[in-house]
Symmetry: none
Subunit: 199 residues, 4 copies
């Protein structure tokens, strides 16, 4: 049988993406089959290939698009004129706020790196590098301005990112703490971690 009435290509592609995202996050890329993705949205596995040439393309798309959206959102929000203290706070708040909204994307972006083929891996890593570089610049500027006491900005960058991203592992919309409270907690902890001077 042919096309279901009213179904449009782009719409189906989006449903596939969504199903894949959710399944990859829950079971892992390698453990999820095209059949399973199709079943989730009432499609034969083969039909997915009308929208994505391979399973790998599907994964790459999810990761690259996530990273690009993240970068775009950060570019829109960052303010390079902010002094280091305020810049760090802005980054921390942005990172948490943005990441808890798309926990699944974040999760697979860390977990499925090894399932990316070389070329796609390089592409995603470059995007990540660009994002994390923002934080490093802030830490370096603050260190130079003697408002932070960071011995090794490279290590500090990774430490802060690790701490921040960890939030997505336990954050629940209906949890004990509001998003605002969580942001506040992390601003305090990270301020301390980088040895931020009180004023």
């Amino acid at each position: 049988m042919a096309r279901k009435v009213g179904s449009i290509g782009a719409e189906t592609a989006d449903r596939v993406r969504l199903a894949a995202l959710s399944l990859f996050a829950r079971y892992g890329y390698a453990a999820v089959s095209m059949r399973q993705i199709g079943r989730e949205i009432g499609l034969q596995a083969g039909a997915i290939y009308n929208h994505f040439p391979t399973k790998q393309h599907l994964l790459r798309g999810l990761m690259v698009e996530h990273m690009e959206r993240l970068l775009t959102a950060w570019e829109a929000e960052r303010d390079d004129n902010l002094p280091p203290r305020e810049a760090l706070v802005a980054f921390v708040r942005f990172h948490i706020r943005y990441h808890v909204k798309c926990g699944e994307e974040v999760f697979i972006s860390y977990m499925e790196l090894r399932n990316l083929e070389e070329q796609n891996f390089v592409e995603v890593e470059e995007l990540r590098r660009r994002y994390e570089h923002s934080l490093r610049s802030i830490l370096e500027a603050g260190t130079e301005a003697r408002v932070f006491t960071v011995s090794d900005p490279r290590v500090a960058t990774m430490a802060v990112i690790a701490m921040l991203t960890g939030v997505t592992n336990w954050y629940r919309t209906d949890g004990r703490l509001s998003l605002d409270e969580i942001e506040e907690l992390y601003v305090r902890m990270i301020s301390g971690a980088v040895g931020m001077k009180e004023n």
Copy 2:
């Protein structure tokens, strides 16, 4: 752990474990086949079943044994009489030192949780909870004693663990920094993060 002469079976089981560990870490549990594990050590896939009843048992074993070794090592080293400041420093140093030594175990213990069958998952999570509880106790004690300024010990525990475990993602034996220097950096950052009083 020297093997007695003739205990060739246990030796083979160990070779399987080692190969599986390395392959699971590199490619992921779901993406690694029993044939691949066998090939790595010159064995037919079928022979693995003389030592492990299923692939899932193999994974469970790696994860449970890792967590148990970790707990045992920590039990041996912890000193509950230490005041909070010193206890925290001891935990930080222990965690880093222990984890960088077994990056692969740590990696799969985080990555492959979702590939554990329910019962095994529960078991591993309980072990992890016990380990992380040590840190939480230290943070709570230090907060109560007003030597730390931690607003939310539960969140702080997860934040500190996330930051610390992140080290295994980039640590290289022959890297720029010695293990000692790295421990020092993290002691400083985490001391700051928990608002440790200077004295």
Copy 3:
């Protein structure tokens, strides 16, 4: 066979036929997909079904039409009043000249017989039988007239056809020998094979 202006449909059908012919000859009927044929001429696979009801019809068409054109061409050229010697020479020259012009059709007409459904197979075989019967009649007439020395006209027919058709396997337009020279060589060899008396 000029197409009337506007008869764009028939034109598309012809492009399909041409593409299918070429692809079937190169890769074999079973190994060529409707998508591949469509791609070759910038068409979606589905569009082919506006012109041919099934892939099998496409194959049948190519083979039947080839055989019919061959028969028609031979009917136009044959001269039943020719004496056996001249008739054989005429057949040899015609066969070679005609077959090297449509190597692909000849090729698939031999190679894809087994991919024809029963009914289509019978139809094509009947056409082939009719064509080859011309040669057999010539050989029988010549034998009766004692200008050929053929022990078994049935076997001789198949032997001559096999020898002649083999030309299409190696003939190249720009090869070492001209078509005329090739015809001459085969006339000599086949004359010998049928024991043609010198005069």
Copy 4:
């Protein structure tokens, strides 16, 4: 379930080969599935891969081994001291006798050439070239010795081979003519085709 009692590897491989040969000959390589081959001999498709790494290897094996057996048989029978007339007769008789015994191998060796991957194709072609070269040498020697009247030995070689191999297309063990009679007919026709002098 594991191995069926008594089945041995080499034996199964042979049964696979035989089934594949027969099916490839009847339906063509591309049209035959591994399932079909397995079904023919009561095996799951997957089990075939215990004996042949790919379907292509199976095909290559059938063709290469056929050509090698053919060459070996001819090497055992040829006698380079025979004068051209006798040598040609020997070749004709050998070719027919050998080829009618393995019609399926011969058939796929011609039909499935295009389904061989480049490297395998080259290998098979080289074997074929070596075999056909024997005939060409005979024709050239006979021409030089003026016992044959061949204008172009290269073309004559292909013509003779084509005529001879055609036999496999219609030969039936229980046919009208005995193998001996058929050999006799072809010796006469081919002697004529190469213009063999009567004595």
